[in-house]
């Protein structure tokens, strides 16, 4: 029985999971489709991850999702210094979507290492750290600081968050700047480096190629799409920050299109993110050319979502006789 075969269970507390679990266990012990994926030198036991900013640092979710069965957790974006984030209101619901302007609130790299990372490390949870900086130097310093920490399996470089005025968006919209950040992070650490791309660009391929050339092990996309909402009674923008990032099912078609494009212009793995709520959403991304996926907003609504997505992918592959994820891809 290969350890990489699909052997995981939905968390038993999850409604209805109990009956499903025993059926799946019987079916899959030993002969499920191959679910392992490689990102640089990192091997994930399966291709479903939790997206940064939607899963905290892990413990918040532990009651309702078994994190050891998930491909990886991508923790909330970390900066050198702690950040307080944006003034409230920070979120607004839109049709099939969520606008957020959290403003990259985080505990800072030192507190992350001392008080958040040990919990993940002790449980052997595959951990990818999302990093963000205001300068190339800050990204580099973060990579160097995190490099020596046991329990970190890869870095994801956020060059795309639209919320922070001093830089985030500039790195992600200019191929040269994106390459500089990617190159600096790759130089500063031995970990696989994933670069997370912004959808708020006109040519996703030039950015994806630039970070590939700079040595990135993979790209993930998309981050949120810049948007806003207005309260017509109060005649003011809903969000304290005026603009926010749109996520959730509303952005899936845009994410899918961009993953399709990126997968056809780079050779490194492409990780699909954006609106994935169900296994069929995820399967669309694999067919578009993604090698792995991240579940974001769906986890906020339904903390067990990633487990269900994973189970559904295996079910589909089994029923339709796919042996590997690569076979799902459409065309070249």
């Amino acid at each position: 029985m290969s350890a990489g075969k699909a052997r995981f269970f939905l968390q038993a507390k999850w409604t209805g999971a109990r009956s499903k679990m025993s059926r799946q266990q019987q079916t899959f012990l030993g002969n499920g489709p191959e679910m392992k994926v490689s990102i640089g030198k990192l091997e994930l036991k399966n291709p479903v991850m939790l997206a940064s900013g939607t899963c905290g640092y892990g413990p918040e979710l532990a009651d309702v999702l078994d994190l050891t069965n998930i491909g990886a957790i991508v923790v909330k974006g970390i900066s050198m210094e702690p950040r307080a984030g944006n003034p409230p209101p920070r979120i607004a619901e839109t049709p099939c979507g969520l606008l957020n302007a959290i403003g990259l609130e985080n505990v800072g790299v030192e507190a992350f290492i001392s008080s958040k990372l040990p919990w993940l490390h002790e449980r052997n949870i595959t951990t990818i750290v999302n990093i963000l900086g205001n300068s190339v130097g800050e990204y580099q310093a973060l990579a160097a600081r995190l490099n020596k920490c046991p329990g970190i399996h890869a870095l994801e470089v956020n060059i795309s968050c639209p919320n922070v005025k001093e830089g985030g968006v500039a790195f992600g919209t200019d191929p040269e700047q994106a390459a500089k950040v990617a190159g600096a992070v790759v130089q500063a650490c031995d970990l696989p480096v994933i670069v997370k791309l912004s959808p708020n660009v006109s040519d996703i391929c030039s950015i994806a190629r630039a970070v590939e050339d700079a040595g990135a092990s993979a790209v993930s996309l998309i981050n949120t799409i810049l948007g806003m909402a207005i309260d017509i009674q109060k005649k003011t923008p809903v969000l304290g920050n005026v603009f926010g990032g749109l996520s959730g099912p509303a952005i899936k078609p845009v994410a899918l299109r961009m993953v399709w494009q990126a997968a056809r212009c780079v050779d490194i793995p492409v990780i699909g993110v954006g609106g994935i709520t169900s296994a069929s959403d995820a399967l669309e991304f694999f067919m578009a050319g993604a090698c792995a996926v991240q579940v974001g907003t769906a986890t906020l609504v339904d903390p067990g979502a990633a487990g269900r997505v994973l189970q559904g992918i295996v079910d589909f592959m089994q029923e339709n006789h796919y042996q590997s994820l690569k076979e799902l891809r459409i065309g070249p």
């Binding site: 918040e60 957020n100 906020l300």
Partner: protein, 267 residues
Amino acid sequence: MPGRFDISSRIVSQKEIAPDTFLLRLYAPEIAENAVPGQFVMVRPGLEEERDPLLRRPFSVHRADPDAQQIEILYRVVGRGTRMIARKQAGSHLQVLGPLGRGFSLPKGKIPILVGGGLGTAPLLFLADVLEEKRAVVVLGAVTRSQLLRLQDFSSTGLEVLVATEDGSLGNRGLVTEVLDRLLGRLEKDARKNVVVFSCGPMPMMRAVAGLCGNYSVECQVSLETAMACGLGLCLGCAVCSDTGAFLHVCRQGPVFPAGQVDWSKI
């Protein structure tokens, strides 16, 4: 940390007890056993495969009955999500996550005064149910008599119940804060140390309650509302400003806070 549970919960009953105001009874054993007063649940208005409306809605636990393994939610229809929940019939199911957040903390030996306005009475009945201190007082307010919710149930807890209506249709004419002001004003300075106020209601009311308690140097805990996406501490969307300028996260550090921790000028 006590467990949180995401369960498909059967609706035991649902009644419109006042215009647009519903009392929902759910079969939710894990939540009924674990909830403490002031905690809340996140309820999904639609079905799992529906993506609109996207987010779950937060509601206080109005009552928990571990023996019957049921909880109650008291809510008002204000928008799409609550309208969808109100249409559900007994026997159908709702996806419910909870119990969430930090509830009221009961300082030993202090006499509680519960101050609720409008729908703010929702978490207070659960609190009144479990209070061992029988000298506690409940102060309830509403615009008019018909909007005073669950009065009978508060009375049957055996606690003293004072009522204020803005139109004078029942109890004192005026605001709950006026009743509270008189209550606290009557106390000797030393006695004020032995009182704790628990408050839930519209923001202007809680601001006034917090102000009064500040003036009288009486301990006060308030239950806050903000928009929430997850209720679990995952998204950091539920921030409010604290007295230190840092942000508080209502779903995890709250929804109940010491009134002094909140920056009331920014709410």
